[in-house]
Symmetry: C2
Subunit: 110 residues, 2 copies
């Protein structure tokens, strides 16, 4: 049995797009995320204010660099909107699920 | 005569929406910015990589806090897209022009 997503790391090199079954299994560990058009994961997070948002964005940026996998994100004052997908694969890979779970863990730790 | 935009500060309280003439005058100092639908200013900036982008975003965030006026922005790895407008005014105010000019100055200093 695989370890939970939040304990895995993103893999380097070409990572295959997930099958529908693999995606469903992964999403069961990621209740905060929404699957969009079968190819992207999104999550919106509201913070107390802009400073609190930026503190989280910097922790997320460190995580993204460590995993060498980077979320797209947009900021509107205290609202952060995240989008995960793997450009090379044209959709979602295990790396996206791992990053989503690790972002959730950062939030819980915050 | 007013000082250049980059030497002004954002004003607090309710700031009026600019007239077309005021907007045109201001835009002449902001060649990197695009006026969208008469109500928003946008600028896209590409960085060497994600780390360089985040360094700039943090300097911009400090500026936004100091001016108490915050740009909307989105990040796609090394691509930063900025949008300025004043929610309360339903369009562009002098504060947006000042923030645009100060963001340009940060970029030049970087």
């Amino acid at each position: 049995m695989n370890p939970p997503l939040r304990e895995r790391h993103a893999k380097s090199g070409k990572v295959p797009r997930l099958s529908g079954e693999e995606l469903s299994a992964g999403l069961s560990e990621l209740p905060g995320w929404t699957l969009v058009e079968g190819t992207r994961l999104t999550r919106g997070i509201k913070f107390k204010d802009f400073v609190a948002l930026m503190q989280f964005v910097n922790r997320m940026a460190d995580l993204a660099e460590a995993e060498n996998h980077h979320p797209d994100f947009s900021v509107h004052y205290n609202q952060l909107d995240l989008t995960l997908w793997t450009h090379d694969a044209g959709g979602l890979t295990e790396n996206d699920l791992v990053l989503a779970a690790r972002i959730d863990a950062l939030l819980s730790a915050g």
